[in-house]
């Protein structure tokens, strides 16, 4: 919200002042607590921070690789599941049932279990031609879980498009598939971009779970460094790396939501 003129400057000043006072109080309370010197040594060590910066960003590239590949697969897979679920008529019942069971199952099982079961379980079958690379199965597990989430997001989008849109398209002679492709989905997808980005941020953080399979990503690397130094500062470095990536995305999401709301309220973008 924007205010103008003198009152605007006054609110800015008050906001600034209250932030400074609030920050000062928090710093004072934390710094005067009896355990602070120990916490400072264990969580905010400058030396360890510098050492961690040399190795953890490299491991963080593994996380980036995982979520980029996974997201590229999740978006079409989730859409496919959502479309299957919206298919009409009794003939498509098996596909609808599959979509429902799939979404229920993979939204219900904790991600960490899916990664564990696939990453260690499938290679243990010893089937020839089936990959055993933990990174591969980590990505597959994330794709399975997040496709289920994302399919629900798409479904919400599809159902938010008024039925008259589809009916109008059908009355113009478009097949169900074409009505979906050219009329329903374009409107649906546009509406759900903010929640899709939200799931994308969740995916980024869950890439740390692939470390369970032995893959050295940022969190695993910080565990290694932390246990070597008996210091928790490496975790701080990893947290900052994740935040540095998610904050721009969060701001983008906020902006998209704002733009969407303005459009819907027929306000001219500024």
């Amino acid at each position: 919200l924007r205010a103008s003129g003198v009152s605007g400057r006054r609110s800015t000043l008050i906001a600034l002042l209250s932030t400074v006072v609030f920050g000062a109080v928090v710093v004072l309370i934390v710094a005067s607590s009896p355990g602070w010197p120990e916490v400072k040594r264990l969580f905010f060590s400058g030396d360890v921070f510098a050492d961690s910066l040399e190795v953890i960003p490299e491991a963080f590239l593994v996380n980036v690789k995982i979520f980029l590949v996974a997201e590229a697969l999740i978006l079409p897979c989730g859409l496919l599941i959502a479309v299957l679920r919206s298919l009409p008529g009794p003939a498509f019942f098996p596909l609808r049932a599959f979509a429902v069971v799939y979404a229920d199952l993979f939204r219900g099982i904790p991600t960490i279990l899916v990664i564990y079961l696939l990453g260690f379980g499938v290679p243990a079958l010893g089937l020839s031609g089936v990959p055993i690379d933990p990174l591969f199965w980590g990505v597959v597990a994330l794709v399975l879980v997040y496709s289920a989430y994302v399919s629900e997001v798409y479904r919400a989008g599809i159902e938010s498009v008024h039925p008259s849109q589809a009916a109008a398209a059908r009355s113009l002679g478009l097949s169900h598939a074409k009505a979906l492709r050219f009329v329903v989905l374009p409107q649906a997808v546009r509406r759900v971009i903010p929640p899709l980005l939200n799931d994308f941020i969740g995916l980024q953080k869950d890439t740390a779970l692939v470390g369970l399979l032995g893959v050295v990503e940022a969190f695993r690397q910080s565990t290694i460094d932390s246990s070597a130094t008996f210091n928790f500062t490496p975790y701080l470095v990893t947290a900052l790396l994740f935040v540095a990536l998610t904050i721009p995305l969060t701001r983008l999401t906020d902006w998209l939501i704002l733009r969407d709301r303005r459009r819907q309220m027929a306000l001219a973008p500024r």
């Binding site: 260690f120 690379d133 933990p134 369970l212 565990t223 008996f230």
Partner: protein, 294 residues
């Protein structure tokens, strides 16, 4: 039955031998006076014990061979009948004997591994379960001197191309794995220095699964554990070789500041001196030891 009694007899015989050499030592060394003074503080009725007249020792449930095993050679349950089978069981029996306790004056309590080195009062006199000395742990508890210097070992599947490695150079191309925060991981990075980044797992069992699955070429664990891994957990596995010993050692864990530690250290020193420790290591751990890779 024979398997059960053999080590017992060995321990008793060695304890008898130890008494003999002690006598000799007191007559030949002028330091005999201090020894008697220390021996007084470590007399059985002077010891600082959880329950009087009884030695209370902690171990995890189950405790695994070759450290502890029951009469059938299976992992040992401390809540069941006591055992003197396995390296730690035998060394503990030797220490108890040195301190003057008969086997029926030793009581076992179950303590999960991660609780053993936490700060605070203890319901055991000392804890025996392959706890490595670490400076951070030493701040919370007290450690005895070493009763075992730990070597690391590489385990591979028998049909792996790395199973026949005879030098560290042969392992350069291997994808090795270890548990996070262990000296095994340090040994990969510092001693083997392979070309591929090692895989790092939360638990040893995860690393073992990855080895079985072929997701890693070699698993690095401490050498005694590797014996159990290849014997029981991965029958298709083989110990490729040992890695040169680092600075890791196993010690008994005591409540911080417990004076009993000094007495146990004396008992350990006696067992080192008379060759009992070495003999027990040969018997329980080194019997089929593979070569050290250079």
């Amino acid at each position: 039955v024979r398997r059960f009694f053999l080590p017992l007899i060995a321990v008793l015989a060695l304890a008898a031998a130890a008494c003999g050499s002690d006598e000799e030592a007191t007559t030949t060394t002028p330091a005999g006076g201090t020894e008697t003074a220390a021996a007084d503080a470590c007399a059985k009725d002077q010891l600082n014990l959880v329950s009087d007249g009884q030695l209370t020792i902690g171990a995890d449930n189950p405790s695994f061979p070759p450290w502890f095993q029951d009469a059938e050679g299976a992992p040992w349950d401390p809540t069941g009948p006591p055992t003197d089978q396995g390296y730690e069981a035998a060394v503990t029996a030797g220490v108890a004997e040195q301190l003057g306790f008969s086997p029926d004056e030793v009581r076992w309590v179950v303590v999960p591994f991660n609780n053993s080195y936490k700060p605070g009062p203890k319901d055991f006199d000392f804890y025996v379960n392959q706890v490595s000395y670490k400076p951070a742990r030493d701040e919370a508890v007290d450690f005895s001197d070493s009763y075992y210097d730990v070597e690391q070992a590489v385990v591979a599947l028998k049909d792996s191309e790395f199973a026949g490695a005879t030098s560290l150079a042969d392992l350069q191309g291997a994808k090795l794995g270890a548990q996070v925060g262990t000296t095994s991981y340090d040994a990969i990075v510092n001693v083997v220095q392979p070309d591929q980044e090692p895989a790092v797992f939360d638990r040893n069992i995860d690393a073992i699964t990855a080895l079985k699955n072929g997701q890693i070429d070699g698993l690095v664990v401490d050498f005694p554990t590797s014996l159990y891994v290849t014997a029981v957990q991965v029958p298709k596995g083989t110990i490729v070789g040992r890695l040169p010993a680092g600075e890791e050692y196993l010690g008994f864990v005591f409540e911080d500041g417990n004076p009993l530690r000094d007495c146990v250290n004396e008992a350990l020193a006696a067992l080192h001196e008379d060759g009992t420790i070495e003999q027990l290591q040969d018997e329980w751990i080194n019997a089929s030891a593979p070569p050290v890779l250079e």
